[in-house]
Structures are given as C-alpha cells and as structure tokens.
C-alpha cells in the first residue's frame, strides 16, 4: 500500500489528514530561546524528550547547549541510548524485577544514567539490582506542591538521601522536583531547606533539578536549582500560550485536518478525533483551537471525528473538503499517537521523522 507519509516538497494540500505538522523554523527558534535564557541564568538545561520522542530533535537541543536529556521510562531511554545519547535522566521510580533488569542493562552501556526515588522501597530495589557493580545515580524526588510523586518534606528528603548515601549499589546525586503552577518560591524553599539539612549531615548534593515548560522562564526564580527540565516548549501548544510562556506564533505543532461533514449551518466535523488530538483537556473545556476558524469550538471528540460548533465563528463557515490547522491542547500526547510526524517550512514538507520512542511506556 502507498505510504501515508508525504515526500519532501509535498505541499499541505496533498497531505493525508489528520497529520501532525511541525514548523522547522519555530522549533529552531523555541530551542534557541529556551537555551539562551538558561545560559544567561547559569542553569544547566535538560530537555525532556517526551514531547518529540525523536533523536534528531534531541540532537538539535544538545547542539544548542543542553547538557543531556530527560526520559520518563526505561524503554524510552533505551531508544535514545540506541541513537547514541550518553547522558540520560529517567525521572521515574523504577520498580520490579523485569524493569530493574532492563535498567541495569541500559546502565551498562550508558554510565551517565540517573534515576529518581521517593521511597526506601525504590532505593532498596535499585540497591539490590546494582549491588556489586557500578552504582546507579539517584536523585530524591520531592513533592513541592505538584501533588504527584515525591517525598513530602525537606526532612523526608534528607532522610532518604542519607539512606541512599549509606546503601551500596546506589549513589546520591541530588534533588529533583516537578513544581506546582507558579511554584518557584515553594521549590526554592524546599530545596534550600533540604540543602541545609544535607550540609549539616555532610552529604554533598551536586544536582538540584527543577522542571516544567510552564515554569521554564521562571527558572531564575529558583537560585538553589542547578538544572531545569522541560519538554513541551520545543513544539509548544495551547496550554503554553495560556500559561503566558509563548504566543500562538511560537507554536510549532499543528494537526492538519479536513472538514468531512457540515451537517448543519453551525456544525462542522473534522477528520481529527481523539486518535489524532487525544482527549487531554489540561483544564480547557474544548479540544483545541482551529487557526482558520477563530471563535469556533471543538466541542466533542470521538475517535476519528471532531465536532465543531461554528455558532461564534468569526469567519465564513468552511466548506466540506476544506483543510484546517488545529492547535492541540497538549502537544506531547499527540506525538505519541503517530508513528511519524511531518516537518515543514511554510507549508512545504522538509522531512518526515519516525517518532522513535512512541509507545514506550515501560
């Protein structure tokens, strides 16, 4: 069967939809802007590859000055190790014999590999797996208000750090957090208090890793942090515009879609459903913005259809067959739905990249 992926030189009008299309120039600009900010403020920058899952884009980030990459799962890191990346942080509590065995095999070929832990169970599992060999570097994950994983207080962080420092097979390397919204001051307080406790205990804490694209340009408000991690900024999305981190003109990913039905004067249906956009709302009440149809609302998604309410659309209703560009609520999850994505410059395809780490959830 003919490949659904377009060749370089193909214009948007000849692309099968739905299709994620990535603006080359905006990617370059987003990478440069974030790195310049981090360099200016003396922070190491470690991009999270979850947004693109593409080694070639991670290489663009390293070439601009990033110190290494951040992955979320062991199998995701394996893909980037295969592509030659040699400084990888996995921000996950790695648990259980099958996953620990994979982590150990990965560590054998990526010595500069770091994981996180927020419990003695995780630490002791790592210690048992790595006993007698090169120890694995561990950061203590701290809950500074994000209410996901993480130890709950500086005292708990220091206690877990001490446990790591006293245990074979693991090496305490520092602290890590993913902040709450506008959480810079909470991160700074938590990190500083923990550093004081560690200093009293004589434990070195070289890495203090803060994160998040929404907090990217607030990284300078956390002087205790040595590094910042961020993923979404590279493509950006509707949630990043809402967060004030960029404008719509910085958004590099759109999902190209086609109007396949116009059942009523105020309803259009696109061929991009939850299998193209995902159902991630991220606090929005609709499913993305349509560049060509300001005021239109994507009110519901089924798997292959988006239902659009045109009641408040500021322009003429689109005809059946019209092509539009959707700004997703959340770009990272779109990448995970496609085997490949299309890069372009001014609406002409430049390259098609395999989303190499798509589907690596282990």
């Amino acid at each position: 069967m003919t490949s659904p992926w377009p060749k370089p030189g193909t214009p948007f009008s000849d692309i099968l939809t739905p299709m994620p299309v990535i603006d080359e120039d905006r990617v370059v600009a987003n990478i440069a802007r974030a790195q310049a900010y981090m360099t200016k403020h003396g922070k190491n920058f470690r991009p999270h590859i979850k947004t693109h899952k593409i080694p070639a884009v991670a290489q663009q980030q390293l070439d601009e000055g990033a110190v290494g990459i951040n992955c979320q799962k062991v199998t995701e890191a394996e893909v980037f190790a295969d592509a030659g990346f040699d400084d990888i942080l996995i921000t996950y509590n790695v648990l259980g014999a099958p996953r620990l065995a994979r982590l150990k095999a990965l560590h054998a070929r990526v010595p500069k590999l770091t994981v996180v832990a927020d419990s003695t169970v995780t630490v002791d599992g790592l210690a048992a797996a790595f006993a007698g060999g090169l120890p694995i570097a561990v950061l203590v994950e701290c809950d500074t208000g994000g209410a996901r994983c993480g130890v709950q207080s500086p005292a708990d962080a220091a206690a877990l750090a001490k446990h790591i420092a006293q245990t074979g097979g693991v090496r305490f390397d520092g602290l890590l957090t993913y902040p709450s919204v506008d959480g810079a001051s909470k991160v700074e307080t938590f990190m500083k208090d923990t550093l004081d406790l560690l200093s009293e205990a004589g434990i070195d804490c070289p890495v203090r890793s803060n994160g998040g694209s929404p907090d990217l340009f607030s990284a300078h408000l956390v002087p205790s942090a040595t590094e910042h991690r961020a993923g979404t900024y590279v493509y950006s999305d509707r949630s990043m515009v809402r967060a004030g981190e960029c404008t719509v003109d910085d958004i590099a990913m759109h999902v190209l879609a086609t109007v396949v039905s116009r059942p009523t004067p105020t309803r259009a249906v696109l061929d991009a459903g939850s299998k193209a956009l995902t159902s991630d709302l991220l606090g929005f009440t609709d499913h993305g913005e349509i560049v060509e149809l300001p005021g239109a609302r994507i009110v519901s998604l089924s798997e292959e259809h988006a239902v659009v309410d045109l009641s408040h659309c500021a322009v003429a209703a689109p005809a059946v067959g019209a092509q539009v560009r959707v700004i997703p609520n959340h770009t990272c999850v779109v990448s995970n739905l496609f085997d490949r994505v299309v890069f372009h410059r001014s609406g002409v395809v430049t390259r098609v990249e395999a989303v190499a780490a798509r589907g690596t959830v282990w």
Copy 2:
C-alpha cells in the same frame, strides 16, 4: 533489547506494566452473547474492529456469525483486507484525492466494500473517483440525534439517495446511523420515514444499518434496521457497565499497573498514565476504576502517572510495588496506544497479538 511482551505461560506478576490484558474467556462470551441476541432478533451483525484492531479477534466475531466488519478509516480497512477480510463497511465520508485513490485501490481487491456519505460533495468525489469502473456502494449517513455527521431529515436522506441513484460510479445501498443515547425510537422514526419516501421514489434500500454498543441490546427496538454495528462490547469497559449493557464481570480488558509511589497516606501513584489509559472521560469525572481498590479514585493523569486518591478506599492502602488492574473508562482508545496486547486466561498469558490497525487514522 529484550522484548517487553511476555511469552505464553507468563503470570501477571512477571509482566512489565502498564499492560493491557484481555481475558480470553470473557471475549468469547461477549462475542457469543451479542451474536446470539442479533441472531434471535433477525439482525445482521457487523462488529466494528476499532475496539480491538486485531484480525484474529475479528475472525472470532465472523466465526460466530457476523456478516462482515466495520472500519472507520480507509487505512484501517487496508489492514483487514491484507488479512483476508472481504466484506468491509467504512463508516466515513471519504474525501480528497489522496484518500480517494487509496479507496479505489482497496475496492479493486475488496469488491464488497461500502462507504457512507452525508453530502453531495462526498458523493460527487466518490463518483468522480469511481467513474467508468465498478461502482462503489454508498450508505447515506443520517443524524438521528447523535449530533455528529449525517443528513438532518428523512427528506434530506431521500434527496441524497436519489442523487446517488442518478450518479455514475456510486451505488445507493441504504441508510446508516449512529444513534443518540437511548435513541432507538428516533432511529426507527427516521428510518421508517425515509423508507417511505424512497419507496415512493421507487428506490430500493436494502441496507439499514444502526449502531453502537450502548444500543446493542436495544437493536430489536428498531424494526426497520437490517443490521447493527458495535465495537466496544467485545472487550467492554466502565462506560458499558454504566450503560447497563454488562456487569464488571463481563469486562475483558484491564490495564495492569503498578503502584510506584505512596507519597501520602491517602495518595498512591500508578505507572499507568494517559499514554496507557488515555484521557477519555466519557462523562466520568475520574480516569477508571481499580479492581483491587474499591472506592479509590484516579483523580488525575499525566503521561506516565495516575494519581489515586485513597481517601474513600474501602480496603487497606496498597504498598509501593503492588500490582493492580484498572478498568478503563473507554477500551477502544487503549488498544490504539499499544503495538500489541496480551491475552490471558486466569492471569496466565495465552497469546500476544499485534494491534495490527493501531495508528491507522487516514
């Protein structure tokens, strides 16, 4: 790298999580129950393969008595044509030169191929693509209250049917709808009124296709319909239990997950996020049910984590490392996230099937 997929004979405890696991016996029972009902009521049954995307499971459905399969996109149908399926309905308005070219190539090897249309634009595009050759069968899609695609009235349905009947390259085969919730009477009225109009016009309408797993066991309430389509029933999910179509003991798909963090007495974090469960809410306010933790609520998902509120959990809080089974809100979208899924009998792996049509959105 070692495969993440388990071998037959592997127990749940040795499976990498998150992992969709499918109960063989429940699949067999769900297929048999639906087919027996359709046979009893004299309806043709056409399963929608979107739920499993696996030719071997579609074959189980055909072997039990289904008349053919339902796909949503041309590329999805291509996968099943490759696997030898020869009666395929694509419930989509196929538009645009690249997609029409694929449809024509598919029709050349699957003569019993049917599509839908709800506008003259779609019909005329099909007519142009198929002019001079074997005509393609077309059903007129009707909006009977579902508020997605579809013509809005029996008069519009009859008018489009006449247009198809008078146009070369296309053949009018009947009517199709996806109903609204509890929409049986609306479907019956719409179909009957349209049949009357078509009869007056001397247009034969052999196929009247109704659909939906929520309406599966109400199919007998639509006497005008000749066929019913349904997908979700084969695995079933939380939304189907809510709809009263099955019990939790009929649910064949679970997502196996591991507790990776217990940051507070009332919070657990699982290693199954939106990349394993999707963010589909389907009207729920949380992200699935945990079999082992009745009363616990999955309050938020990030890509690789589910945050669980244990405040009202009826049993002891789980330890870090504990394995649990999540009942997804919506099973079909979970299938689309994994390259393969694991089948089991009583928690021991029986087979691993490639999700052959995963990611085919065109």
